[in-house]
């Protein structure tokens, strides 16, 4: 009998430990291997948390939705690019799991339009190649640029801004859209010049006067890649901790130093209009640049796609 009690106590302790581990905040990342801006943002944010958390990586949105569904506490980030790509391929996207009350922040990254220092090529009627990180709807943007400005640009997709910069330096492309994180250090070293920027407010190195849409006619003047940060949790302690982490000076410093733009952080700063704006951008890109069906995120939430 004595031993049975002991066994029961041990089982109880073990079960409690398991339950505690299960309640750990899951910081979710979609993609394999874990690379790219979504991973960097979620990781940088998680570094400022005080509650226990663990990183969970799923290879696709379907798997990620399952994690969100099965766990009480999940911090996840959704990107407009993944959503757009998923929509075009008729796949599930995380928009199904987005609830305005759970959105704790939004941010975005954008690009400068660069060429090699000393290159004489100008954006005009002579055929030229523009390198773009393939995540951007490159075809749509380039077609729009050509249609509105009678330019002869060919859009060439690359894996990342780093590879676009490399393609510029090795002479594969004449122009390239390069994230400030890569382009500005190369500008400082005199390897690249970036006469235009897609960032409306400009940066320290490139003023707002060089905003691309001021020089060229563009149907969608502001091009960027946006992220929506969500916390699914009913635990007020966890929600407060995430809110504190995202509004911390350290996270703000990270966003500024790594050139993220259009940032709004904290439950108070993000409302329904902000979430709508995030999804409206996806809709605009698909309709205006891709000539495809629009995107209504509220309808998406009720869809039962594969």
């Amino acid at each position: 009998m004595k031993n049975l009690w002991k066994l029961l106590l041990v089982s109880l302790a073990f079960t409690s430990l398991q339950t505690l581990a299960a309640d750990k905040l899951k910081v979710l990342y979609v993609g394999q291997p874990q690379a790219g801006p979504p991973m960097v943002i979620t990781k940088a944010l998680a570094e400022n948390l005080t509650v226990d958390w663990e990183f969970v990586s799923m290879k696709d949105c379907a798997g990620a939705l399952e994690v969100i569904d099965k766990n009480e506490n999940v911090l996840f980030l959704m990107s407009d690019v993944t959503t757009m790509t998923g929509h075009r391929r008729d796949e599930q996207s995380l928009s199904k799991a987005v609830h305005v009350k759970d959105v704790v922040g939004t941010t975005a990254s954008s690009w400068h339009m660069c060429k090699v220092n000393g290159a004489e090529h100008e954006i005009g009627r002579k055929r030229f190649a523009v390198g773009v990180a393939s995540i951007l709807p490159v075809e749509g943007f380039v077609r729009d640029l050509n249609e509105n400005n009678a330019t002869k640009a060919i859009g060439v997709g690359y894996k990342s801004s780093a590879q676009v910069a490399q393609a510029l330096l090795n002479g594969d492309v004449e122009w390239g859209m390069v994230n400030p994180g890569f382009s500005e250090p190369l500008m400082a070293e005199g390897k690249l010049v970036c006469p235009y920027t897609f960032i409306k407010q400009g940066t320290e190195m490139i003023s707002k006067d060089k905003f691309m849409a001021k020089e060229f006619r563009m149907t969608v003047p502001e091009l960027y890649s946006a992220y929506l940060i969500n916390i699914k949790s009913g635990d007020e302690k966890i929600r407060a901790d995430v809110n504190k982490a995202i509004t911390s000076d350290k996270f703000a410093e990270f966003l500024v130093k790594t050139n993220y733009i259009n940032t709004k952080v904290g439950f108070d700063a993000v409302d329904e209009a902000e979430v709508d704006r995030f999804f409206k951008y996806i809709d605009t890109m698909l309709v205006e640049l891709y000539k495809e069906d629009g995107y209504d995120w509220k309808k998406e939430q009720t869809k039962g796609k594969k």
């Binding site: 394999q32 075009r88 393939s134 330096l169």
Partner: protein, 440 residues
């Protein structure tokens, strides 16, 4: 200094483990550091990564040569040739490849030093244009398929492998991605297991083939003359090809391997190992000097550094806390030298250790192989979030195909390499089309 030495030591230990253990991916270094990013300074992250990165490549050949199970994907190219060698020759080959790896590391490091101190980094990047890459890839495909017994079938297999490889070019037509839905639960290591490792094991079981003659004594092994010529050939091929973005170490190993005649097994292996080790070092060049990550491992590391708010490449010029006179790039040179030398000494010392392991394995090889296959499946599932039922179904189908091919003496390598290089070839072909043929 003590902290730095400890991190370096840990990196070296992990490097050896990652290299020796088959199936553990070479890019694991950044993943190991993932939970410790907030507490580790950048110089420690860089040191650990370099040591693990070099070690995983350095020791990746050991399992491939002794057990015919590739420790790293880059060792895959010669794994079928290993069956032609007895265990004495294999142990000797381990010694030769260790020398080749060291030579590869040191030669590539020499290039790094010249490029850095003479300010040639931008010029070096110009060598990595798409036309060069595409030319190399097509030549490679031709050579690989031409020197098989079934040329047409090999070409077809290469194309099939390419078609089913996971594509990352988001601008490709949607049907490409829909096609991949059928193989989404097939992993690279699953393919290698199914097409090569398990069929070979089943054949040996069915044929009741005698076990490998593992009862060897290190003193009996006649140490052959070091083949510096093969090492040098691999080294310069790897040093140049390392600059090509993507899995350039695999590519350089294949090119170097195919640069020798079919029956020159030892030369082929030595050259391939020298090539992939030198490519591992020269691939670091664009990353350290210009801030361009060009391999998967570098991409992962770059993300970790970004979390630390480390701006590349400028912050690489920050002073090293141990010797203020040196910057982080120079610290990296030092880490490469120290790691490579320690790996070299250990690899030579390890020959006795491998011999003891082989003695222990004598008579138990079948059991060890079953355990290894289970372990490989476990590791594969650990690193690839796949759905279990489709994964095992695919593995079973691949094993059946692999076994049939083995029985009919058809080499499945073109299919495997089509799969490995498929994404790179797709990108390169797409770039060629866009840059030279596309109209507005």
């Amino acid at each position: 200094m003590l902290e730095f030495s400890l991190v370096l030591l840990l990196g070296i230990i992990f490097g050896i483990m990652v290299g020796l253990l088959p199936g553990v991916p070479g890019y694991i270094g950044p993943l190991i550091m993932f939970p410790f990013v907030s507490i580790l300074p950048v110089e420690h992250i860089l040191t650990f990564w370099l040591a693990t990165h070099i070690g995983s490549q350095y020791f990746g050949s050991v399992a491939a040569i002794l057990l015919k199970i590739p420790g790293e994907v880059s060792s895959l190219v010669y794994v079928r040739d290993i069956g032609k060698l007895d265990m004495r020759q294999r142990l000797d080959l381990v010694r030769q490849t260790a020398w080749g790896s060291t030579m590869g590391n040191m030669f590539a490091l020499g290039i790094l030093l010249v490029v850095y101190y003479f300010g040639l980094s931008t010029g070096v990047v110009q060598l990595s244009g798409n036309n060069v890459k595409l030319f190399l890839l097509i030549t490679l495909m031709m050579v690989m398929c031409w020197f098989t017994n079934h040329k047409a079938l090999s070409f077809l297999m290469f194309i099939i492998g390419m078609a089913f490889s996971e594509k990352t070019a988001g601008t490709l037509p949607t049907w490409v991605f829909h096609m991949q839905e059928y193989t989404t639960d097939m992993t690279l290591f699953g393919l290698i297991l199914g097409m090569l490792i398990i069929p070979e094991f089943i054949r040996e079981m069915i044929d009741e083939k005698k076990e490998d003659p593992v009862d060897v004594n290190i003193k009996d092994i006649k140490r052959s003359k070091l083949d510096f010529k093969a090492m040098f050939r691999g080294t310069w091929i790897g040093s140049l090809m390392g600059l090509i973005p993507g899995p350039s170490h695999i590519l350089s190993g294949i090119v170097s391997y195919n640069s020798y005649k079919k029956d020159e097994t030892q030369k082929k292996v030595i050259s391939a190992e020298s090539a992939n080790n030198s490519a591992t070092i020269s691939a670091i060049m664009p990353f350290l000097f210009i801030g361009f990550p060009i391999t998967l491992s570098e991409f992962l590391l770059a993300d970790l550094l970004q979390v630390k708010m480390f701006l590349m490449p400028m912050d690489f010029k920050n002073a090293w806390s141990v010797f203020g006179g040196l910057n982080l790039i120079e610290m990296s040179f030092l880490v490469i030298v120290v790691s490579a030398l320690i790996y070299h000494l250990l690899a030579q010392r390890f020959l006795g250790f491998y011999e003891k392991l082989l003695h222990l394995a004598y008579g138990r090889l079948k059991l060890i192989f079953v355990a290894l296959i289970c372990y490989l499946i476990y590791v594969d599932l650990k690193f690839n979030p796949v759905y279990l039922i489709p994964y095992f179904l695919t593995l079973a189908v691949l094993t059946w195909i692999g076994y049939k091919m083995l029985r009919n003496d058809i080499n499945p390598m073109p299919l495997v390499f089509g799969y490995i290089l498929g994404d790179m070839m797709t990108w390169s072909g797409y770039h060629f089309f866009k840059l030279h043929l596309a109209t507005i």
